[in-house]
């Protein structure tokens, strides 16, 4: 079973690495300029010249997918950063203090979970205007309670352990114990949750930009490309096929990576898979 776990880790690393590489390369080189409209080349089927075909403005879809990867990764990554940056300290604080602080955090969690994330993201972007930054904030806010919950649950299971008791007996403060002992012990769980939220962020960003609330044109985004493809399914199905596959492959890669890390770190989880 260990080989299987490693296989999923390997596949996850490989796919995620390739997508990240594609996004990085797009800063330096893309097969075609994604801002250049070539009306004569519009809705061309995939060929050796345009691997994934062209869209209704004659833009090369492969190039747009490369640049779109940048946008998706950036939005999801920063949203995970926001979630971790705020959620983890909150969760650690609640676990360390307990009592009222803990109860307040749990109620806050209930509150945020009552709002379906996409609904709130749509509201936030609608109120503050569409754009990549607001999409990041909207997705980021909903990562906060997720990380708070994971950090709290992880920390609560570490606090009763003996080495923590030893640290307390040595006169270390709650903050110091949290930073020196609790955090390193829950880092793995946070990493696994991070890859899951990263994948969900990619899906959420695609959904928001499909609705026109994410990155704005001329910046290509995978969701927006699917929106443009929708009314042209009969004449240019490749316009929908390739950006969708890009999303699926990226999310699949991240999920495999998360599963692989979880299996590697927690032998118990391997049994269930």
């Amino acid at each position: 079973m260990k080989a299987l776990a490693n296989r999923s880790l390997l596949a996850g690393c490989l796919i995620t690495g390739l997508v990240a590489l594609m996004a990085l390369v797009s800063f330096l080189w893309t097969p075609y300029d994604v801002t250049k409209l070539v009306v004569a080349d519009r809705t061309q089927a995939p060929s050796l010249i345009h691997w994934f075909g062209t869209d209704h403005f004659g833009r090369d879809i492969a190039s747009m997918i490369m640049v779109g990867a940048r946008n998706s990764i950036a939005v999801a990554l920063v949203a995970v950063g926001i979630g971790m940056g705020i959620g983890v300290p909150l969760g650690l604080f609640a676990a360390a203090r307990g009592g009222l602080a803990d109860e307040a955090l749990m109620r806050l969690n209930d509150l945020v979970f009552a709002f379906p994330a996409l609904l709130s993201a749509i509201m936030i972007t609608a109120i503050f205007g569409p754009g990549a930054i607001n999409a990041i904030i909207a997705i980021g806010i909903f990562n906060v309670p997720v990380f708070a919950r994971v950090a709290r649950a992880g920390a609560l299971s570490v606090w009763p352990r003996e080495f923590i008791l030893a640290a307390r007996a040595a006169g270390k403060s709650q903050t110091l114990i949290t930073v020196e002992h609790i955090l390193p012990n829950i880092a793995n769980q946070l990493l696994v949750q991070g890859t899951i939220q990263f994948a969900l962020g990619i899906l959420a960003e695609a959904g928001l930009s499909y609705l026109g609330l994410g990155a704005q044109p001329p910046m290509p985004s995978w969701g927006r490309m699917l929106f443009d493809a929708q009314t042209r399914m009969t004449v240019a199905p490749w316009m929908a096929l390739f950006p969708g596959m890009a999303i699926v492959i990226t999310v699949l890669g991240l999920n495999l990576l998360g599963d692989g890390i979880a299996d590697l770190l927690d032998p118990k989880s391997r049994r269930r898979r």
């Binding site: 709002f115 379906p116 996409l118 749509i122 609705l211 699926v248 999310v251």
Partner: protein, 315 residues
């Protein structure tokens, strides 16, 4: 049990009250005068003043919140500015599309996920397990709106079996209406089914290693009965929890899916209301969706307290 019930109800009520404050505050921070935003720059001062009065914008924030929340409690959601009808009428009309859509999706997702999860768990480690869980892994990664586009291409454009979008209304007969909801429901259901199948399998694998399963097997009970009668029943708690959570996803998912299929449901209503800045509709529909999510979570909590007496005492 009474104490557990009271605690859960109190938490739900507090969450609902806090949620109403959040929704109210969110629309308070819309830049500019909401009445002016809704009416556009060409509206006359009288029109703006009228709408301000209708929206109860003239008092202080606390007074306005209490007025709004009080109206919500008596199911008075106000009047939609763009549609010029009471919001409650709009909501009832749209629910006739969204509720069946979400329920069909939930039914489809369960009908796919439970057998797949059962199959995979009972074939653990074998080819059938690897293939079905591989498919589930893929299903989790598929954005529902992309899957919707593929379904439209296959069943509407290519095979011409089902409509590509629109809704004829229940007045046109049950079959045409169901046909219009089938593809959207399938698009909503697939990614949820993939998640649910994984959860079902994982819960079953845990249960199947329990002693009582070995006992049941040892006394010669047929495998099928062990699986359905003992294992599935005991694995249901995580499955039901995820189903409850999924209901919220399904509701939110209708916003995108109803847009893909041009369905006149609640999701499309809220999206249109947001783009048209019909804040009265936005406030009410968001509150309604949030209240539904809280209610479903409450029901899930209570339902597994009924299933598992240990949870009651722990509360």
């Amino acid at each position: 049990m009474t104490a557990y019930l009271a605690k859960r109800l109190a938490i739900a009520a507090i969450t609902l009250a806090l949620a109403s404050v959040v929704v109210f505050a969110m629309l308070e921070i819309v830049p500019g005068d909401p009445a002016r935003v809704m009416l556009g720059m060409n509206a006359s001062e009288t029109q703006v003043a009228q709408l301000r009065q209708q929206m109860g914008l003239d008092g202080g924030p606390v007074q306005r919140y209490l007025h709004w929340a009080g109206n919500l409690l008596s199911l008075d959601f106000g009047r939609s500015y763009t549609y010029s009808v009471p919001v409650i009428d709009l909501v009832t009309e749209r629910l006739a599309v969204s509720l069946p859509l979400a329920l069909i999706a939930l039914a489809l997702s369960t009908a796919i996920a439970i057998p797949v999860g059962l199959y995979a768990a009972s074939r653990r480690g074998k080819t059938g397990d690897v293939i079905s869980m591989g498919a589930a892994q893929l299903g989790v990664a598929v954005p529902n709106f992309w899957f919707a586009l593929l379904l439209v291409y296959l069943f509407a454009v290519w095979l011409r079996w089902l409509p590509a979008g629109g809704f004829p209304g229940w007045g046109a007969g049950i079959w045409p209406a169901l046909k219009a909801l089938l593809l959207p429901a399938l698009a909503l259901a697939l990614p949820q089914a993939a998640i649910l199948a994984r959860v079902t399998r994982s819960a079953l694998v845990d249960v199947l290693s329990e002693d009582y399963i070995r006992t049941a097997r040892a006394k010669g009970m047929p495998w099928r009965r062990v699986l359905w009668g003992h294992a599935l029943r005991n694995a249901l708690i995580p499955v039901v929890t995820i189903m409850g959570l999924q209901f919220a996803f399904l509701l939110a998912g209708t916003i995108i899916i109803e847009n893909v299929f041009y369905l006149p449901g609640l999701g499309r209503l809220i999206f249109q209301a947001i783009t048209q800045r019909d804040l009265i509709v936005v406030e009410s529909v968001v509150m309604l969706l949030v209240a539904t999510v809280i209610a479903v979570n409450l029901i899930v909590d209570l339902s597994y307290a009924l299933v598992d007496p240990r949870l009651r005492s722990r509360a």
